[in-house]
């Protein structure tokens, strides 16, 4: 009798452990899927909202090619050399002449792109003191007269490939940004004036297919 009771307790213990382990695994899969979904939605929406469809980004199959804006500079009225700009800059990271370009905006919305060839400090005051200290940007071609804003960007692309969202800067490799949870049928979808994400998970326990708004196609 004692042996039977002991075996029953052992069986009960192992069964409970196994079920709890399965529940934990399912939760991990589900968490990974939600994390991947949130990251994808946040990253891609943030990137696309800073640009205009057709001008700054476009979709091709599993890829979104874009100008990935990394900062914004207010142009100060001090320029004496045509290849230089004095700016006050703020953004996600510092300008890097090895990979960055500059989109110059005129007062009526004209756009001109230039390559950034150098960055230095500037002693000229510019704007309210609350702004960051001004700096000098050197460009590869003349600055269009009247430019008021310079947007710093790098060329990049986002891909839904090999089960994850991946980012590729220029011609470098595709780096994963999310856990590998997507099935091959996940895709960017264009419906009318809307770009969305149709997310299907590789593991059925990750949840039902899910779709999300990403950007306006206008």
């Amino acid at each position: 009798m004692a042996l039977l009771l002991g075996l029953f307790i052992v069986h009960l213990g192992f069964t409970t452990l196994a079920r709890l382990r399965r529940a934990q695994t399912r939760l991990e899969v589900r968490t990974d899927a939600l994390v991947a979904t949130r990251i994808t939605r946040h990253v891609v929406r943030r990137e696309l909202r800073h640009g205009r469809h057709g001008d700054d980004w476009f979709v091709n199959d599993d890829s979104i090619f874009l100008r990935a804006f990394r900062g914004t500079a207010l142009v100060c009225p001090y320029d004496t050399l045509t290849l230089e700009l004095t700016v006050v800059f703020g953004g996600d990271r510092r300008p890097d002449p090895s990979k960055d370009s500059v989109l110059l905006i005129g007062p009526l919305g004209s756009l001109e792109a230039r390559a950034l060839t150098g960055v230095g400090s500037s002693s000229n005051p510019c704007g309210p003191t609350a702004l960051p200290p001004p700096e000098t940007w050197r460009l590869d071609a003349a600055v269009p007269p009247g430019s008021v804003v310079a947007r710093l960007y790098e060329r990049g692309s986002y891909h839904l490939s090999a089960s994850a969202l991946r980012y590729r800067r220029g011609a470098s490799g595709r780096q994963p940004l999310t856990p590998e949870v997507w099935s091959a049928s996940s895709a960017w979808v264009r419906t009318g004036r809307v770009l969305g994400l149709e997310a299907r998970y590789r593991d059925s326990e990750a949840g039902a297919p899910w779709s999300a708004f990403l950007a306006w196609l206008e």
Partner: protein
Amino acid sequence: MLAFVILVMLGLFALTHGVLVASLAELAGSRAAVRELEVSAAAEGALQATLTTPPGPWMDSVVAWDARTVSHGPAGRTETFGIMRRLGPESWLIEGLAQMHSRAPARTARMAWSIDPLTRVTSLQGIVSVGPGALASIPGTVDTSDPTAVVAPMQAGDCDAWLDALNAHYLAHEVPAVATLPDSASPPGLGLLEFADALAAAPVAVAGSGTPAPTEVLGVCLTDEPWGWGDPVRPWRPCGALLPLRAASGDLLVSGGAGQGVLIVDGELTLAAGARYYGLVLSSGALRLEAGSVFEGMALAQGGVYVAEGATLRGSACWAARVLAAQRPALGRFVPLRSVGRVGPL
């Protein structure tokens, strides 16, 4: 047996703890996502509210300006700021910023355009700018000799705010009587303010024909009278300072009388004998000055210009700048730059 039970209990405890930690992490992630959505929406709301802020003369004297509001949403207290930063005479960076619980703020911005009277006037290439191919027939008198002269009925001091800049501009750039508008497809606008939007911005419309005359009641000027276009020849009277914006959705005939301000006509504008107008005219049709009429100011007339013998057209940048400045609240609203979209990150 006891050891086995203890081991099972430890295993259960470890697994339960793992599940709990994973659940809490997921809960924190969900909350963060909700907060991110809420502050993004609040920042967007602050941006839109600032973009639709009625413009005013104070805009000329600021480099940066912000308005702070506090709201309470499902995720907590949110502070929002709408920030206007002047980048150039007509260029603005409008920013919406929202912050929750002292965490990193969400920011969104757009570049916008808002009319600057001086810049708009000095950008006009001629006293009358006409559409490509439109007829310019000028048997009458056209005076382009001094667009910054302050002559009666304009009072000394009426042009002081712009006089130095206008003098500097017209010393370097001679202004012809007639110039050609660059865009042939659409009626003339003012910078990025399109003709239709300028027409819609007018608080009072006129139609057909009429004679402008000031309307006073008990010493007060009635500003909403359709044909009350100020009192240019008696500037000391109650309506003397009224520089109204009037619009007509069709041809307009001014039969005598005197008026001042900004006149927007979706059709042909005719000043008949005895009519006098001082200010700025935008017309999708032709501007016709018949014998005995006087126009002082500047005009954009898509359909051409006709100045009959005995009519007088005197170019006056002072009148144009003065009436545009007076209509800043109606015409100076922010126009987001369509080619740029949202600007960021900041």
